[in-house]
């Protein structure tokens, strides 16, 4: 376990900024008694409260499996990939959101893209290729993805057209259980 280097921090923040934009400050600049930090352990980036960090320093590296919230992992080529485990945090600070109808929930949770027919609501003036968090109509976060069209362009689209490209969904907790942790 170690702090991120500057390049790694940059890679992580760039990814996070796709979804939460300037709200990223709220992840870093927190109150003294509620401070969190980013730590790298076995190529995975964890976001954890400071007291937990102090406890975890006494665990040997091979024995430490996971700590705090896993935000994602670095590939061998040093590219950062966000994981579904970070959903709670980015759902909290998400800038652009997409709500899907109950009929579209299951297809999305099986790893499919969001079609226009399933789209319930979308944040106004969402640009194209913008990271968005996907919710169901009851405001439960289901995953995240990237918009295929801007909000204005979606109106012209036919019902089968893709609105949000799937990136991660909570179904992965079951599907990728073996490799997730």
């Amino acid at each position: 376990m170690r702090p991120l280097t500057e390049e790694e921090t940059k890679a992580v923040f760039e990814k996070l900024a796709n979804y939460i934009g300037k709200n990223l400050v709220h992840l870093i600049d927190r109150d003294e008694d509620d401070a969190y930090c980013f730590r790298l352990h076995k190529d995975r980036v964890y976001y954890l409260p400071l007291p937990m960090l102090h406890l975890a320093t006494s665990v040997a590296r091979p024995n430490l499996i996971s700590l705090g919230t896993c935000f994602g992992k670095f590939s061998k080529t040093q590219k950062f990939k966000l994981g579904i485990t970070c959903l709670d945090w980015i759902a909290k600070y998400a800038k652009y959101k997409v709500w899907i109808k109950p009929s579209g929930e299951l297809p999305f949770l099986y790893g499919n893209h969001v079609a226009k027919a399933h789209l319930g609501r979308i944040t106004e003036d969402t640009p194209e290729h913008q990271g968005v968090v996907v919710y169901n109509m009851a405001d439960v976060p289901l995953g995240f993805g990237v918009t295929a069209r801007s909000t204005i362009d979606t109106r012209k689209l036919d019902p089968t057209g893709i609105i949000v490209f799937h990136q991660a969904d909570v179904g992965e907790f079951l599907r990728d259980e073996d490799t997730m942790f």
Partner: protein
């Protein structure tokens, strides 16, 4: 004591009876040596070692001496001498083979190009004299130009030109050039010999001349490493310590630089927070730039102009009494 017994003892001590040998003893009179190739009789050897060795020696020596008496003799003033034949046994060399002379630059070139050496005769045929004249030296062909009593002056030459003098100067220059090349060859040969001896003394205590395949490889590796190291050093010899220099294809990676990370846990968390906020600030600026360039306007200049335009538009709108439009425009500009 019996006289007969004493006589027998004496006879035994002075007996010239020799051992029976399975193979004849080979004697090489030229080297004054005799070789007994028969296997040793182990029983006899164990039983009575000294006696047996003495008998063996006696046998071999007798054979050698009898072979010497069979040789032709020659009577001289100092007595009769035996003429020894040339040795037939081949002995190993006392000293190692002489090292091949290091090639001169020309010899190396000639070898590479396959030019065979053509021996030059000392004398050359002179057509005008109809005689052989030496190639160099007194009255040599190479100084004919400076020794002739009459010189032809060409039309373009200077009035005060001395053809004999120039010819001599040219010849001297040729000699000087040759001497220089000769010195360079000697220096190169000495250099290579020195480096070879140095490398052998460093790697092993083997003979100076020939290097084994492994030693050559080691030497090559060492030279390669040194080259890599000096290359890396030279790469950092710029104002930016090589940070912004272009990479060469197949460039060696700098070794021996350990990764250094911040401590995992410190009491003071502010430093880490500050650095993260710093990264974030830079990121936001950078992201803004990228977005601008995507839209097609030119970097920082474009950003300035947009803001100015929005402000200007806001002023115009306020003057016209439509504040709503101006607000929307400024919002857009910020993003």
């Amino acid at each position: 004591m019996d006289v007969a017994q004493e006589l027998a003892n004496y006879a035994a001590a002075n007996s010239t009876a020799t051992l029976d040998r399975a193979t004849p003893i080979i004697s090489d009179a030229g080297l004054l040596a005799a070789f007994d190739n028969s296997p040793v009789d182990s029983d006899e050897y164990k039983m009575n070692l000294n006696q047996h060795l003495l008998a063996l020696t006696l046998t071999s020596t007798q054979s050698l001496i009898s072979s010497l008496f069979a040789l032709p003799t020659k009577s001289t003033s100092s007595g009769i001498l035996t003429i020894l034949p040339t040795p037939t046994t081949i002995l190993p060399r006392e000293k190692p083979l002489p090292k091949p002379k290091p090639l001169t630059k020309w010899e190396r070139f000639a070898k590479e190009k396959g030019i065979s050496h053509k021996r030059k005769e000392k004398d050359v045929w002179d057509e005008e004299l109809q005689d052989w004249v030496p190639r160099w030296g007194k009255g040599g062909k190479n100084r004919q130009g400076e020794e002739q009593w009459l010189h032809e002056v060409k039309a373009g030459d200077d009035a005060d030109l001395d053809p004999a003098k120039t010819a001599k100067a040219e010849r001297k220059a040729r000699i000087a050039k040759n001497e220089k090349q000769h010195a360079a060859n000697i220096a190169a040969a000495a250099n290579s010999a020195a480096s070879a001896s140095l490398s052998t003394s460093a790697s092993s205590s083997k003979g100076k001349g020939e290097l084994s395949q492994e030693e050559k490889k080691n030497l090559r590796e060492r030279r390669k490493d040194e080259l890599k190291r000096s290359m890396l050093i030279s790469k950092t010899a710029t104002a930016s310590l090589g940070k912004y220099d272009g990479k060469i294809e197949g460039e060696p990676k700098a070794k021996g630089v350990k990764r250094k990370f911040e401590p995992t846990s410190t009491k003071d968390f502010k430093g880490e927070k500050e650095s993260q906020l710093d990264v974030l600030n830079r990121l936001e600026k950078g992201v803004g730039k990228v977005k601008k360039s995507k839209k097609g306007s030119a970097g920082a200049e474009g950003e300035l102009n947009v803001r100015k335009a929005v402000r200007f538009q806001g002023k115009v709108d306020r003057a016209n009494g439509k504040s709503g439009g101006g607000g929307a425009a400024s919002k857009k500009g910020k993003r």
